[in-house]
């Protein structure tokens, strides 16, 4: 497979997953804020931190704007300068998809293209204005359709492995950051109020689509430790960090089999498998609250590092710097 093409596959997966996660976090936070148990900035600032957008947001709107839900939602949904906004993520997913149009099934391409057309049309603006939950839900519906169709209508070959690798690494990072930010907020601010605290943990579960799976799994009491264990380590939950890292490792092992040392990709594979092995034997201590933060920092740093090494080893050169035009005459 062409390295540049692998890069487009990887990033299409990441951007689709990024849009989906951002929509999920925005929707869950919207619900949490409506309960009115927490001060507004304690709801909305974590959204910016999870997306890695706090510094840029502060610079443009000031720290106090992080407590204004409409400003934050607008920034995360529509802002053209925000690389993590839904608009930009979907646009970038489509740009990558267009570059590998020849590899995608017509169904996947149409689903990506329709998402882009919808988000750029008036219908999406109207839905955003009138039915915010409906808007976030529809965006997720679109992105889930893309990923579902990729599995059911495309050849299960390296192209799909790279898409999946991008999706899983992106997802592992989001789950870890969502957990870390809120956990951090709980620790530093201390709620002391049982209802507010439970509400926050449920919002975190919802932000990761883990609410019903968590309850079904029968963890009983909703405690910080139980939620953290579930989102970080539950091997049967497809958005837990352990599940995502294991899945990513499996896909990379298909792309670059562990015993084939003559092929490029050895360093990324080793690093990813090490992270997987570490998560498999990990147990969260019951008492030491700061340990969770350290574990999550480690996860976030390591997944980022794996992506970097992967880029060097397997995904080829950076994309062409400038748009090149007029190379084929109009004839």
């Amino acid at each position: 497979m062409i390295s540049r093409v692998a890069d487009h596959c990887f990033w299409m997966g990441r951007y689709v997953e990024r849009a989906e996660n951002a929509a999920r976090v925005l929707s869950a936070t919207h619900g949490l804020a409506l309960d009115g148990e927490l001060p507004a900035h304690q709801c909305w600032l974590p959204v910016l931190i999870v997306a890695g957008e706090q510094p840029a947001f502060y610079e443009r709107f000031g720290a106090s704007a992080a407590g204004e839900e409409e400003v934050v939602q607008d920034y995360m949904s529509w802002d053209e300068k925000n690389l993590s906004s839904l608009l930009r993520s979907v646009g970038a997913a489509r740009e990558n998809a267009r570059s590998i149009r020849d590899l995608l099934s017509i169904e996947v391409w149409e689903a990506v293209n329709e998402t882009h057309l919808w988000l750029h049309g008036q219908d999406a603006r109207d839905e955003y204005a009138e039915n915010r939950f409906g808007f976030y839900g529809r965006l997720r519906w679109h992105t889930e359709l893309v990923l579902g169709l990729a599995r059911t209508t495309m050849l299960h070959d390296q192209a799909l492995d790279f898409v999946g690798l991008g999706v899983l690494l992106e997802r592992a990072g989001w789950t870890a950051r969502v957990l870390d930010v809120h956990h951090h907020a709980l620790l530093s601010e201390g709620l002391g109020d049982r209802a507010a605290e439970t509400g926050l943990w449920l919002a975190i579960l919802r932000a990761c689509s883990g609410y019903e799976p968590f309850l079904r799994h029968g963890r009983g009491q909703i405690s910080g430790l139980a939620v953290a264990n579930f989102l970080l380590l539950e091997p049967k939950f497809p958005r837990s960090v352990r599940y995502c890292v294991q899945g990513a490792g499996e896909r990379l092992s298909v792309i670059r089999p562990p015993q084939r040392d003559e092929l490029p990709g050895g360093r990324s594979l080793k690093r990813l498998l090490n992270l997987d092995a570490w998560l498999r034997q990990l147990e969260l201590p019951r008492t030491d609250q700061s340990a969770l933060h350290q574990v999550l920092t480690q996860v976030v740093d390591e997944t980022a590092a794996v992506c970097n090494v992967l880029g060097e080893e397997l995904l080829g050169q950076p994309p062409a710097a400038a748009p090149t035009v007029a190379a084929e005459s109009a004839g």
Binding site: M1, I2, S3, R4, V5, A6, E95, R98, S99, I100, R101, D102, L103, I106, W109, E110, N113, E114, L117, Q158, I255, R256, L263, P264, G265, L314, G316, Q317, A320, A322, P323, T324, V325, A326, A327, E328, S329, A330, G331
Partner: protein, 498 residues
């Protein structure tokens, strides 16, 4: 007797189906593709026209809206160069098909095969022995002064003897209904993906009429092209064919991706390729893979910075040498620009006589070469009635439409012609044929001028003509320019079976 019976049935059909075509405003002195001057459908098309004619304007409006939405959803777009944000537009598609009778098609097909054969022989001759110059059939200076001439190509004999793997030959029809070749495109002709997409749309819009018409399918184009490309591979066991694109910002990127996808080959950019020891390799996630045939959709000048433009970021260093040594096939071959140069065009009938000892089957458009003193004097005095074109431009750029021009524009062209006569040719303006076209604002059919670009694919065993082609239509009222960059659109082209 049967002829009379046939005609009367056509009249009856016309009487029953007047609704949609009723009051069609014919253009003066212009051949209409679908309707005879008395307003009845042309007899060869009565099967389909009967069904289409029964549609109401509202139904046609709905059909048009349906296909517009589908084209957007499928991303059948072209990029707009001037827009830095990478805006894409759908190529306007007119829902009314253009039809070509079986009899006309036989004439076109044989004429195109003949023409492409002669052009192949001409290219091989110019780049090897130059027999046609030695026998004074074509002046060497006209050909060698072409911007498309590449001295480096001299002496190279490409694999399978093919240089024009894909040709797009533009045809028009004059007021008498005579088919004429307007120009040849022998470098990187584009548009065939729209032929295939338009067919999908036409089947959705007019399924019953399509069924009645009995139309030649076009879907096997990609398979034919793939076979032709593999037939010229230097490696015969497991030839690796790739399509080289300038990238997603190129206006024709949709087509590049479309063709790669439907041929099942890799779509590559120059940065994916490298040359080592005069062989071409593809950078993959499992190391370098050999490449044997490159269907390149970038111009000669951007192929290889070592040989052509050192400033090009698009090319592959060493690619030309790999081709010269016969380690890779390039489709189309470099240097073809001499054969589709507009100043060489008037000599194509002579090539057909010289190489094939046949009379040309297809007519051309009478052309004045400004490089010739007599022609130039005539052109300069008659600019108001001529169409002037720069020999090396395409897409409707660099041209003067004399009858519609201002005195100022004519003065400008007079100066340009005097400064560089070799660069200009002139032709009498042909009243391009019209075809009924949906006008959404008026809610009725109007005559709009069309041309036809059929595609010819040549393999080791000779040329094959796709039964169909891109009908381009000048959507602007009164316009003669069909190019998409100048407000043109397209139609599906139905070549009818016998």
């Amino acid at each position: 007797m049967s002829q009379i019976a046939f005609q009367s049935s056509a009249v009856e059909i016309a009487a029953r189906s007047v609704r949609l075509f009723d009051g069609y405003p014919f253009l003066g002195d212009t051949y209409d593709e679908l309707l005879a001057p008395d307003g009845a459908p042309r007899p060869a098309f009565h099967r389909a026209m009967e069904v289409i004619g029964r549609k109401s304007p509202d139904e046609v409006r709905r059909c048009q809206a349906l296909v517009d939405r589908a084209l957007l959803s499928r991303g059948v777009t072209f990029s707009v160069y001037s827009d830095s944000r990478g805006t894409e537009k759908i190529f306007p598609f007119d829902v009314l098909p253009r039809m070509v009778s079986a009899q006309d098609w036989r004439h076109i097909r044989t004429g195109l095969e003949q023409r492409v054969r002669a052009l192949e022989l001409f290219l091989a001759d110019v780049y090897t022995s130059g027999r046609i110059f030695a026998e004074n059939r074509i002046p060497a200076e006209v050909v060698l002064a072409s911007r498309g001439y590449l001295a480096q190509v001299g002496g190279v004999r490409p694999w399978g003897g093919v240089r024009i793997h894909v040709a797009g030959i533009d045809l028009i029809r004059d007021s008498a209904g005579t088919w004429r070749v307007l120009e040849d495109n022998l470098r990187t002709p584009s548009g065939v993906s729209y032929v295939l997409e338009n067919r999908v749309m036409a089947k959705r819009a007019f399924p019953a009429a399509f069924d009645r018409a009995r139309v030649h399918p076009v879907e096997d184009y990609s398979a034919r092209l793939g076979d032709a490309l593999r037939s010229v591979s230097p490696e015969t066991q497991a030839p690796n064919v790739v399509l080289l694109t300038p990238g997603p910002y190129n206006s024709a990127f949709f087509e590049h991706a479309f063709l790669a996808r439907t041929m099942g080959i890799d779509l590559v950019q120059a940065s994916d390729l490298f040359v080592d020891d005069d062989r071409v390799w593809l950078r993959t996630t499992r190391g370098p893979a050999p490449v044997h045939v490159i269907y390149r959709r970038i111009d000669d000048a951007f192929l290889d910075p070592e040989v052509f433009r050192p400033d090009s970021l698009l090319g592959v260093r060493g690619l030309f040498r790999a081709w010269q040594k016969g380690n890779v096939a390039l489709a189309n071959a470099p240097g073809n620009g001499i054969a589709d140069d507009k100043a060489v065009y008037p000599y194509v009938p002579e090539m057909i006589r010289f190489y094939l000892s046949e009379e040309p089957i297809l007519e051309q458009v009478p052309t004045f070469l400004c490089a010739r003193d007599d022609d130039r004097a005539f052109v300069i005095d008659h600019l108001h009635e001529l169409v002037v074109k720069a020999v090396d431009e395409a897409g409707g750029y660099g041209m003067l439409m004399g009858p519609d021009s201002t005195a100022e524009q004519r003065d400008e062209f007079r100066q340009r012609i005097r400064a560089d006569p070799r660069r200009y040719i002139a032709q009498k303006r042909i009243e391009l044929s019209s075809c009924p076209t949906w006008d959404g604002n008026r809610g009725c059919l109007v005559p709009r001028r069309v041309d036809l670009r059929p595609y010819v694919v040549s393999s080791r065993s000779g040329p094959w003509v796709l039964p169909g082609g891109l009908t381009r239509v000048a959507l602007v009222e009164g316009s003669y320019v069909v190019n998409s960059s100048q407000g043109g659109g397209s139609k599906d082209t139905w070549v009818l079976k016998v």
